[in-house]
């Protein structure tokens, strides 16, 4: 398998050609970063043109064009137009700029157009994909990919990353993964799926309560708490090499949170008889104590620059979220509304923190500015909504919700729009954590 993979990468890398140079963005803002979801951009993704009449090509054309459409609309930035409304058929007219009648697309309201052409020879697929600005009649991104048929999802995600990059300047989330807890096997174990819920796989097989997955920012390590040895211990596992470390002090070893860019993590330990947050090396050695107040201190979340932590403390009587500057030692209370606020998640954009607030017996997701502005309630009156986690570009939030009965993993934009279920597995799913963007490049 390893050989195959390097072959694929080799194939994809050496045959990706820029067909036309990507245009400079500075002059035109396609997506308003400050209000990205205010207006969804209408995008048209017609069926891909097949270069021969083979059945396999027709089938792939259907699947691939649908996958591009789904992947892009997942971001919340786009609205994919219904194919029935299309006036032009690229299979007949063409997929390159000088063959396309852009008026046929602007007439139906499409502002962006993606055309694709593919040919299949045995197990090899060759795809060319283009993104056009229909109003300007201009090519924005053009790429050609060649590789195994089984890698078409990878190729499409790669192209979508190029699309998002050309429109927002950021690489997006298509390489990221989501870890979560599921009870389907009879015990709480950790599972990992792609960002869109594709291909969930069971990651731990401890046959014991396993909770709180946490990704390192380089995507190479996962830490989690498990009762595998009868006590809540933190396990630190390397994803590729299956090697690792254990933190098993007396009492609690819970709520791991990796320091961005470092092989270090914060966690709550209670061997000193109080529940405090400590900073440890990735191998499990204590570097220093981060909190120093009597009472529960738990659930640390790092700012993207690794200089501050948001965490939950009961030091003022009820569980509230605080921010500590590690350098200066200063601790400030962040949340004042509600009597129970927990599970802070610091946005990778650095300016906001999502958290779970419990009011009148109901759990909901809130977002509050690091400067204290807000909070904004994102979920309302639909079951219990808990454990938010930001996507690596700070645009989407994954969380757990019981609005349908059993707890399921949900996605929504950072403004609370487009709430939808990510996947459904046997048992109940909780505790989701979104990785950084750097997984399986």
């Amino acid at each position: 398998m390893a050989v195959r993979r390097s072959n694929i990468l080799f194939l994809i890398i050496i045959t990706v050609l820029s067909i036309n140079p990507v245009l400079c963005l500075a002059q035109y803002d396609y997506i308003d970063i400050n209000n990205p979801f205010l207006k969804k951009i209408p995008i048209a993704v017609p069926l891909f043109k097949t270069f021969s009449n083979k059945e396999v090509e027709k089938k792939i054309s259907k699947n691939a064009s649908r996958l591009i459409s789904e992947t892009l609309t997942f971001t919340g930035y786009f609205k994919s137009l219904d194919r029935d409304a299309f006036l032009e058929d690229p299979q007949k007219t063409g997929i390159v700029a000088n063959r396309i009648k852009f008026k046929n697309w602007t007439d139906i309201g499409a502002e962006l157009l993606i055309t694709g052409g593919l040919s299949v020879k045995e197990d090899i697929i060759e795809m060319e994909l283009r993104l056009f600005d229909t109003f300007k009649g201009r090519l924005l991104v053009g790429k050609r990919y060649k590789g195994w048929i089984t890698d078409q999802r990878k190729m499409i995600r790669r192209f979508c990353s190029e699309v998002i990059h050309s429109l927002t300047g950021k690489w997006g989330i298509f390489n990221s993964k989501i870890a979560f807890v599921s009870t389907g096997s009879g015990n709480k174990e950790i599972y990992i799926s792609d960002f869109d819920g594709y291909l969930p796989k069971q990651f731990t097989h401890n046959k014991a309560i396993t909770l709180s997955p946490a990704w390192s920012s380089d995507g190479k390590w996962i830490a989690y708490t498990s009762y595998a040895r009868g006590n809540p211990d933190i396990y630190i596992k390397n994803l590729q090499e299956k090697r690792g470390f254990v933190i098993s002090k007396k009492g609690l070893n819970i709520a791991p949170a990796w320091v961005p860019g470092k092989f270090e993590l914060a966690a709550t330990l209670s061997f000193s008889n109080d529940q405090e947050i400590y900073l440890l090396t990735g191998t499990g050695k204590i570097i220093k104590k981060l909190t120093n107040a009597r009472g529960i201190d738990v659930s640390p979340s790092w700012s993207p620059d690794g200089k501050k932590i948001a965490f939950v403390s009961k030091r003022s009587g009820t569980p509230q979220i605080y921010i500590k500057d590690i350098g200066s030692g200063q601790v400030d209370r962040l949340t004042f509304r509600g009597r129970h606020n927990s599970t802070p998640s610091w946005s990778p954009a650095g300016d906001r923190i999502a958290y779970t607030g419990i009011e009148h017996g109901q759990s909901n997701i809130y977002v509050i500015g690091v400067d204290g502005s807000g909070p904004l309630q994102l979920t309302h009156d639909k079951g219990d909504n808990e454990s938010p986690s930001w996507s690596p570009d700070g645009s989407l939030i994954v969380f757990a919700s019981t609005r349908e009965g059993p707890s399921r993993i949900y996605i929504m934009t950072g403004l609370g729009t487009d709430q939808r279920r990510l996947l459904t597995l046997k048992g109940e799913q909780t505790n989701p954590k979104w990785s950084s963007g750097v997984i399986n490049p």
Binding site: K188, I209, L211, S212, T225, G230, N231, P232, G251, L252, I254, A255, T268, S270, N273, Q275, I296, V298, S299, V312, T318, P319, H340, S342, T343, T356, I358, G361, S363, E386, S387, T430, N431
Partner: protein
């Protein structure tokens, strides 16, 4: 030849005759003493009977005593087992989001401390549990606080700290799977397991 024959015949007749003569005379000697001492025998017989009866009585009494002792022992064991199972089965309950020991909880813990002081040596695991409200990480910490709160109280009552092990399960092991106030109240508990 005829002489040898007569000698053998004579021997054949003489030797058995000698044998019979001897045995007969023995018998004659035996029968005579039993007739003369029958009275003494009766008395001895009676005494032997009495002794046998007394022996039987004694055996019976001993057996009864032994049975009684066994019953008593069994009753004691049952008492110990009941106290032990009550120790394990009687949980201590908490208010929502609190690890403070209510008066009823303290009363139960006083009984537990007494049992522990009277049954020295073994270790006990104190489990801390929460209801499902709140997030799982916070509840792991709260369960830890509840278990430690119970341990501290028992240590104050004279139980050796080294015998008490605390273990938090947060909201992960509810005793009642329901989603209402009644179930939640049952789940906010500390539970004891004798190792």
């Amino acid at each position: 030849m005829r002489k040898k024959f007569w000698i053998s015949l004579a021997l054949l007749l003489v030797i058995p005759g000698l044998l019979f003569t001897v045995s007969c005379s023995k018998k004659k000697i035996k029968s005579q003493p039993s007739v003369t001492s029958s009275v003494e025998d009766e008395a001895a017989k009676e005494a032997a009977e009495k002794a046998k009866q007394e022996e039987l009585e004694r055996q019976r009494a001993l057996k009864e005593e032994r049975l009684k002792a066994e019953e008593e022992e069994a009753r004691q064991q049952e008492k110990i087992a009941t106290a032990k199972s009550r120790f394990e089965n009687e949980d201590v309950y908490f208010d929502f989001d609190s690890s403070a020991l209510l008066p009823m909880a303290q009363a139960v813990l006083e009984k537990k401390a007494a049992w522990l002081r009277g049954n020295s040596g073994g270790s006990v695991v104190i489990e801390g549990h929460c209801d499902e409200r709140g997030t799982s990480e916070y509840n792991l910490a709260l369960g830890d606080r509840r278990a430690k709160s119970v341990k501290a109280f028992l240590v104050d009552l004279g139980v050796s700290a080294s015998r008490l092990i605390t273990l938090s399960y947060g909201e992960e092991r509810p005793s009642d799977p329901g989603h209402n106030g009644e179930a939640w109240a049952k789940n906010r508990r500390a539970h004891f397991i004798i190792e």
